[in-house]
Symmetry: C2
Subunit: 403 residues, 2 copies
């Protein structure tokens, strides 16, 4: 059967949703949004369900003079009106039963996709709706077309309600995050064991990349330091005997990020290095103490802060905690110290079971280098669980490089 | 040294450019563009040079409530006024000497990046300039800010001049493309050798992914068919004894794509399969005959078409040729049949040495399945050279799956 002869059809009974439909409807209502036109890969994945990400454009977007632009049109309270605008090749995925959306429309390029979404909205008679888009993930040409073609519509940003929808993870999502975290740490330990004095940071990162991929992950990045340098880019810098090394890597499984930092040393750690890591460990563990459903996000900072303030290096230590999942920094938003300025602040809100936190303590030591531990901790009803919690001490390098 | 204490400085003598500056200036002048604000990863990489792609955001963009948005500001004829707006962590890369741009500015999020670019343009007194952007790769919120902050500026699309700049590849780029092509084909042959009847398409793609990564490539995608199905998505479909299989994969080396298609068969090909592949091969080879600097792009279609028209399956055969490089479909734009509608048409223009073409012949056979060969051919002064030109026949499967 030639896929091109297939006709997509729509309408009919309300489909079963792979996400919490009533929750999304409530979030949309609170934000005054009638129709969503979702365009980011992470939110399209979340709403399509089944950890869907179109395989052809999983890593890049550009093609020809334009790009891949998936658009999921969702009408509040009416899943039966939903439509998915995808690349023509995504019909292969439709044939495999990946889409719950009653209508699938094929389009090329950012303008082709938006034209198809506009047509769908018109067909539904929602030309005057308040339409929620993700403005940081919607190309300028596509948004202009939307505004021009639907002049009566009100266009608003839907980033925050969509982020809120993803804040509490399902058991399936927690499984992905656990697996990603465990495999990132296993990969780090394997890479450290294969390298020693004489290896460059770039070589160690390349080994890590292959180790993550061989465990079924998609490698995202590695921030790495060696010796006293605080430069975290992979480079030709050589790891030397006695040097500490920080390895902070993100790798995803089905889009869910494992993001942890572990320490290594070429040889044996001296007493000062042991003390410095113990100082970080004490803060990391103090941060976990209050975590349970119902505790406030701010309690984590209070508990960690108490230890940090009396720490020998408290003046240069940096503590941060933030939600994570499909994005490495997402809800719950616990701190202003997170890199992207957050308009909201969840520090005063109760944590919920199924929220996943990244907890990080960093010591950029002027004499001993960059020392850091980053952990992944999931909130449970009566406490917490840490994913990929091994390798927290000084991991010894393997054999010296052959060169 | 703590990167945060560093101060980026600008101004001074004209820096050496890693691209053809006069060519870019001429392209800008022809398009009436005074200032470029480049935002796509491929064009930022091209203009920064050294196959630069910031490692932390190489694969994803989203962080917090916004995204990574690199912006390269280039003023026509004035490289000394260029500025690069990057993520604060990119200062690690600046410290390593990766940037020729005299000014480096750190920003978070799409609005933060654009605010920094606007400030730079103001400082240069170019508030009334014609500014070229990539509208399919510029978020709607960032473009709105640009228009609002610089109301006297004229904003135009710069996609085509930037694509034109990349059309003829340097020896360094050709080296990357050769390596990517060769390693993609090697990886395919390795994956085919490790699988046989009983393996699923998804298992074979996972092996291919690991083989590409183990050769230093970034795996992009694999379109795959087995047996008589024309569905090209990785899935649980089982490869059965006697089944043909098409494997069409893209993998990049330093951003440059190797994109080829090879055929395999579980067991031995029968006479009909041999004939069908020979039919494709004849068209692929006819397409190469006219290729040399100075020949017209359309000559390729004329030569291939002559064979295609008299081919037994000419009525369902599909032939296409298109430029490739940092993007899998780029200049020279030779055909309307390419997936993304091309406003320009290079078919009537002379080919230039250093242009790289992807040449594809596809036979979606209703009874024998999807049979296809895709090659990478570089135009030289007196002819052509094919990269990764092995494995063009029926590659036999390895042992049957253990299951």
């Amino acid at each position: 059967m030639d896929a091109r002869d297939e006709k997509a059809t729509g309408g009919g009974a309300a489909p079963a949703l792979p996400f919490d439909g009533p929750h999304l409807d409530a979030l949309m209502e609170r934000a005054g949004i009638d129709v969503l036109v979702v365009s980011s890969k992470h939110n399209v994945q979340y709403l399509v369900g089944g950890a869907y990400r179109f395989f052809f454009f999983s890593h890049f977007d550009a093609i020809g003079l334009s790009r891949y632009l998936p658009l999921l049109v969702y009408v509040r309270g009416k899943p039966e009106d939903a439509a998915y605008v995808g690349n023509p090749m995504e019909n292969y995925e439709r044939e495999l039963g990946k889409f719950w959306m009653p209508e699938f429309v094929r389009a090329w390029g950012s303008l082709g996709s938006m034209a198809a979404a506009v047509e769908r909205i018109r067909k539904l008679g929602r030309e005057g709706a308040t339409i929620g888009v993700e403005r940081a993930f919607l190309p300028a040409d596509a948004e202009e077309l939307l505004r021009k073609e639907l002049p009566a519509a009100r266009i608003v940003d839907a980033t925050i309600p969509l982020e809120r929808l993803r804040a509490v993870k399902t058991p399936e999502e927690l499984g992905y995050l656990r697996l990603a975290s465990e495999r990132v740490v296993e990969s780090m330990l394997a890479a450290i064991a294969q390298h020693g004095p004489g290896s460059t940071k770039a070589e160690i990162v390349e080994t890590l990349r292959r180790e993550e991929v061989s465990r079924g992950l998609t490698f995202e990045y590695c921030l790495i330091t060696a010796g006293t340098s605080l430069n975290r880019a992979p480079s030709d810098q050589v790891w030397r005997e006695g040097d500490p090394m920080s390895i902070d890597s993100g790798g995803n499984y089905k889009g869910y990020i494992g993001d942890l930092c572990r320490m290594a040393v070429a040889g044996e750690p001296d007493a000062e290095l042991e003390d410095l890591l113990a100082e970080i460990e004490a803060i990391q563990m103090a941060a976990r103490v209050p975590i349970r459903a119902g505790a406030l996000g701010g309690d984590i900072f209070a508990s960690a802060g108490e230890v940090l303030r009396t720490s020998p290096n408290g003046n240069i230590l940096d503590f941060v905690a933030h939600g994570m999942g499909l994005i490495s920094h997402e809800a719950p938003r616990l701190t202003d110290a997170a890199p992207v300025p957050y308009p909201g602040d969840d520090a005063g809100q109760p944590l919920q079971a199924g929220m996943v936190l990244s907890i990080e303590t960093t010591l950029p030591h002027p004499r001993r280098g960059y020392i850091k531990i980053e952990d992944t901790v999931v909130v449970t009803e009566d406490g917490w669980e840490a994913f990929g919690d091994g390798g927290r001490g000084w991991n010894r390098s393997g054999a010296a490089a052959k060169a």
